[in-house]
Symmetry: C2
Subunit: 323 residues, 2 copies
């Protein structure tokens, strides 16, 4: 099968348009890919900031398309392993080292196929898999979210952070956000957030406590020196869930607050097939629509990656692969 | 009831021998106290390093004695509250603000009384409550310890750390320890630890991995700049449990390791009455004997506190209150 796709041949270089012959591995089947979405993972791979990079490769972990006349989206990884608590050594995310979704066609395993939620277009559905799965495990499995609880989501704007916001609002939590952008704070309010703070302000923990009376859950992808400020805004028994670390190592993090308030700091990434199923059911039940920041044509993926790198986006950056 | 006791009248001053009249609160009953044990909490209160210090007060959270002819030991706190995940606002630890066990007699609530395990003397039984309870919750409830798992206990020598070691050995875990003292490492090996490292060595994480192949559980009471080294020695799905922070704020703690390996950092302190019951049953079943560092007479409690402050001790420092 020869397909049109965008290939990363070398790190620090643009992805290049190619027509290449895709080959199936064992049980894989060919799907017609209608839309893809970007994740930070793709950007980091292009910059060489990812473990075990093997090139050339078609990047892209998210997609939706058609298989034998049926509308589907794809579980963005395979071989989680036997323990629901963590992925095994064979865990494999779509799009490096295996070829991914920045392509008009791709090969996936049959057990990666799930029905596209009916209320979503291809573009909307492609925005959902990786970020939605990560958000679901963070909020539900790790965060143990319950209606009426207070949640803080730091750095609103990224795909995962917005899905956590949308899921938490649908579950009946009181949602608060941080951002360095007033515009993003207002976008979060429109999605149902009750309050927000610019995280560059001083005395962050006091300001967070003033608007919220403390958090039962914090979902953070930053880390860095502000981690201790978020901890100080936690209630007893709080769960701080981390799925990223854009600001570097956790610093200034008080053991005394952690142990006296019986707080848990929980690392999480991606999720199990079971969690993916639950997330899709929840999205369908609550008719949740992914927030789309922008849509690019497949051949403009390098522009799309620049948009992600700018940090200006609010919501998912999607590729239309159907033309 | 007039009793002989050691009272802290002022911070930074020695405890003073007194004969004072104890008064019962509502349902409290008088017990004859045969032995007490020290905890770091007592030391910190004498140094003014504790929240909401109210003096004068008889310190002491641990004890064993006699009530109506029965041998008992005491649950070291009351009013945990309704949520097993964390103690409520009314939680009250024996010995400040309420009068404690550095006394020949004391008042406790009936639901603080538990049968003394038969294989333990009064002195041994007095060593058990607060540290044993903290160790149990850390290892079992938070650490979710399972036979065959690898556990690292940092800073062996303190009461909690040694109980974690003894409980983990009895449960069939592979136990490793750190200490700054070769002598304490050897004492830990005698209790069943399979290996140990001096935590002042460089490349701590590599040395820990070399002796253990990584940890499923870490129990730490230090925090500080070494926290990241302990994290690096964790396996996927590991639980890092913290019950203290003698080295200050957690630093250099990698979010990337935390989330990619799905590791949890779990704060814990003390425990519920249910956990106390489980811990006592476990100690009785496995005939575990608390490690006693030294025994002082009640009137020599200031010497006992100096011993604790020196950090030279291995095991519990106990007071004989029966003479």
């Amino acid at each position: 099968m020869i397909t049109e796709c965008m290939v990363l041949n070398e790190i620090h270089q643009p992805l290049e348009f190619s027509e290449i012959e895709l080959l199936a591995k064992d049980r894989q089947v060919l799907v017609e890919n209608k839309a893809s979405a970007l994740n930070h993972r793709d950007l980091w791979i292009t910059k060489g900031q990812y473990a075990n990079i093997q090139l050339p490769c078609i990047l892209g972990s998210d997609g939706s398309g058609i298989y034998e006349g049926k509308d589907i989206l794809y579980l963005p990884a395979t071989d989680w392993g036997n323990n629901p608590n963590f992925q095994g050594k064979g865990y494999n995310i779509l799009g490096m080292p295996s070829n991914g979704t920045f392509s008009k066609n791709c090969f996936i395993y049959p057990d990666q196929m799930y029905h596209k939620p009916e209320h979503l277009s291809y573009v909307e559905a492609a925005a959902l898999p990786l970020a939605g799965l990560t958000a679901w495990r963070a909020l539900k499995t790790k965060g143990q979210a319950k209606p009426g609880e207070n949640i803080l989501i730091s750095g609103t704007g990224g795909g995962v952070a917005i899905f956590v916001l949308q899921f938490a609002v649908a579950m009946g939590l009181n949602v608060y956000v941080t951002s360095s952008s007033e515009e993003k704070l207002h976008s979060a309010y429109e999605l149902g957030a009750k309050g927000g703070i610019n995280y560059k302000e001083e005395n962050l923990s006091k300001k967070l406590l003033a608007i919220s009376e403390g958090f039962d859950i914090v979902v953070d992808s930053a880390g860095g020196p502000n981690s201790g400020q978020l901890l100080k805004a936690c209630r007893s028994g709080a769960r701080m869930v981390m799925y990223g670390g854009t600001k570097g190592d956790i610093q200034n993090f008080s053991p005394q607050i952690l142990f006296w308030k019986q707080i848990s700091l929980l690392g999480t990434t991606m999720g199990t097939p079971q969690e993916f199923r639950e997330m899709l059911d929840f999205v369908s039940k609550h008719k949740i629509k992914p927030v789309i920041d922008s849509i690019y044509e497949l051949r403009d993926v390098n522009e799309a990656l620049k948009r992600m790198e700018s940090g200006m986006h609010f919501g998912k950056i999607v590729l239309n692969t159907s033309r």
